[in-house]
Symmetry: C2
Subunit: 451 residues, 2 copies
């Protein structure tokens, strides 16, 4: 029979079991963290009608979309989780209770040019809070808490949640008479981290043809930094000249005021006036999250406040606030940096039962007892030499081997071997289960990220 | 702005939050149950090269496949989880340790004619054990235990795991001189449950042109039933005439011998000589699972032993055994039958914190304390009347409301209202957390299926 080469498409992540177990643990942590903040799960189709998916108009994204016909239907694969959310909320408006808080962790598709670390199929992990007509600022203040607790649960310590407010920016540009150029200026200022203040100032003058004193105004504004209190004090100086600016400043003050109550340490938080995010979409608070030791990676969790989730589907005004983690890319980066912990068990099982007597009933009963106690257990019954059986446990990193021979059967015990320490002891079924369970429960607390 | 109607394609399941929470609980139960039996998670791409996906030749399935071009690539969406497993094992043969035990819960795509209860996008939840060259019969004996414990964990009681052996069938047809017609006979006999013995006998004679005594031979064989011991005794009468039959009988005896050790009650198990499953694929034990109260639904978990997982990709002989649950259809059927429990909390949160004082710091700190204790908590800060706030909790079925006014703040407590009993009491943060946690932990034990 002619063989076909079994290959996986480039740009599609497919992990070996030990890595996949880490990925699953990341997803489980996210599900749990989002749930604790009162978000309900949502699962939308990966395929949608192209008309529905592209209702907003895709712009740059449209070229990357996987779009095809099936019968008479013009179909497309989702390229984010926001458009499907908009569709879902618009379609089910009458059945939902607002504010509607949902999380979704799912695969999205973009036919980007394949390159290292870029994926065509990747997981996004999103949360959004959607209001019906209105949505209180406290929802924006809550987002940094969700980011903080989520990354802390994943095991990351060195990260900073950077926050800005679009009203503040738009207000500033308006009072400085730069509203027309605001978009271009924001795109330029966005490069501050990468190219530095001098080069940004030059770009403002050379490319945007700004007078030097105007460019200085922008640079002065962007230079406002320090503790939250210092930044707020710096911003207060611009107060009273533009109502939108004042509104943004009030919002920013509310967001910072409750940080401590929300359990967010100030060291993990910073107001950063240079970030702007998606220019047409966000209208209030915007968020980015930087890994302190790896700023080159860019933001690992971003989002913001928007006023109109689903205008292309419905007349209802649906403001919201949301954030998104690019999970596949985050996993890839953490793995590349050696930041994924092996402390949590990456083996497919906690215990391997190896029967050494002919009748298997006793060994099977032992495996059943361990499984009933919640211990991930494999039963090894292949016809192999003893050494090959032990090597199987070793290769997979299974921490405990349960040996069962005639002796153990007659004594009504099992021989438990700790593969790390080499220690072997005879124990009853229940004592063996308790020993292994205790160790596993301790290891289960290990976070998936180590620094 | 012209609006696009926000619709979801027919044949694609999209659940409202309360139902989705039940679906998530089912998936979590499956992940946990499969893990306890020592299976590692696998996640393969939804898109594969069409050449790779259709290497085996699709037959009937091929027409249903979502296939399309992107640039120069001929792509297709996976239609099951078995072909991607074959690809994965063939491609990563050198990196895997055998027997390789994997589970995968993921969406697959089939462009079937849309009809009620039929889905074009649906979850399968598969496990497989893949051997390298050989695979011991004990792996086949273990499968009923996995099915039993999985459905029991889901909360189902009335189900029967029906087991047969293809060697036994092929051996019987061979010794009866009916090997040529074996496929047709098996397809006819498969209708026994639906049309009864008389009609099957007539079909055998009229459509397959069998002599009446041959048809009687088949019907006599299929009529062997009763307890495991009785069926085995009935089969022993055919022993010694065909080596394949004898091998099949030995295998069936091994599978039944260890049921008790594996913790499977005999009432949930039956040998059923009429089931055959995929005719070209399975070569040993085959499995079906019937919901006792709903035989009309057909098998909710099926599979079997096969000898050649990946012959179209590799020369390696990779025998295996696996089962699959059609999760989306199972969920749909259970929901239709009213068999999904509301006992487990379907609300997006366990507690809703409602601040009634102007300063929100205290209320936020209370919400943070509850969240730190693992309680799924929402903070309600919209500018609404008190009645509307309580109605929000009510509509979503949130079991506890935490009211925080000036009184509570000055006394350093919260007012906890049990929405079901109406009871309200003032408690410290930690007592409130303990009270709610205890209730939630108890409810978390409720299974997702009720009968």
């Amino acid at each position: 029979m002619a063989k076909v080469a079994p290959r996986t498409l480039s740009g599609f992540m497919e992990l070996l079991p030990a890595d996949q177990i880490k990925m699953e643990k990341m997803m489980e942590t996210l599900r749990k963290s989002y749930s604790v903040y009162g978000f309900a799960p949502l699962d939308t189709p990966i395929i949608e009608s192209a008309e529905v998916l592209l209702a907003k108009g895709g712009g740059e994204t449209e070229k990357q979309i996987y779009r095809f016909n099936k019968g008479d239907s013009d179909l497309a694969l989702r390229f984010d989780l926001t458009v499907p959310l908009a569709k879902f909320v618009a379609a089910n408006y009458g059945s939902l209770t607002f504010p509607f808080r949902r999380y979704q962790i799912g695969k999205v598709y973009r036919g980007e040019r394949a390159q290292r670390g870029r994926f065509r199929e990747f997981y996004q992990a999103d949360i959004d809070i959607i209001g019906d007509g209105k949505l209180d600022i406290i929802n924006e203040a809550e987002i940094p808490a969700i980011i903080y607790h989520t990354f802390t649960a994943l095991g990351l310590k060195g990260f900073k949640i950077k926050v800005n407010n679009r009203k503040l920016l738009n207000g500033f540009y308006s009072l400085a008479g730069m509203s027309e150029k605001a978009g271009d200026i924001m795109r330029t200022v966005d490069k501050l981290d990468k190219i530095g203040a001098n080069k940004v100032r030059q770009l403002l003058m050379n490319e945007l043809h700004m007078f030097s004193h105007k460019a200085d105004d922008v640079m002065d504004f962007m230079a406002i930094s320090g503790t939250n209190a210092e930044v707020i004090a710096g911003l207060e100086r611009y107060k009273g000249m533009d109502p939108l600016f004042d509104e943004g400043l009030e919002e920013l003050k509310t967001v910072t005021r409750y940080l401590a109550s929300f359990g967010v340490p100030e060291k993990n938080f910073a107001i950063d006036l240079s970030i702007a995010r998606g220019l047409d979409y966000y209208t209030g608070t915007v968020y980015e999250t930087e890994m302190t030791a790896h700023p080159e990676i860019g933001s690992v969790c971003s989002g913001g406040r928007y006023d109109d989730l689903a205008g292309y589907y419905t007349d209802k005004k649906l403001p919201g606030v949301g954030i998104s983690i690019g999970l596949t890319r985050l996993f890839y980066v953490l793995n590349e940096q050696g930041m994924l912990s092996d402390e949590t068990v990456c083996a497919p099982a906690d215990a391997l039962v190896i029967p050494m007597a002919e009748d298997l009933g006793y060994a099977i009963a032992a495996a059943t007892a361990l499984r009933d106690a919640g211990i991930r257990t494999q039963l090894y019954c292949e016809q192999k030499k003893f050494k090959a059986k032990m090597s199987y446990a070793d290769k997979l990193g299974i921490p405990y081997v349960i040996l069962i021979g005639e002796d153990e059967m007659s004594e009504n015990v099992v021989a438990v071997k700790n593969m790390q320490s080499g220690k072997q002891e005879k124990l009853s079924f229940s004592d063996a289960a308790a020993l292994i369970k205790k160790d596993m429960d301790e290891r289960a607390h290990a976070a998936v990220i180590k620094e």
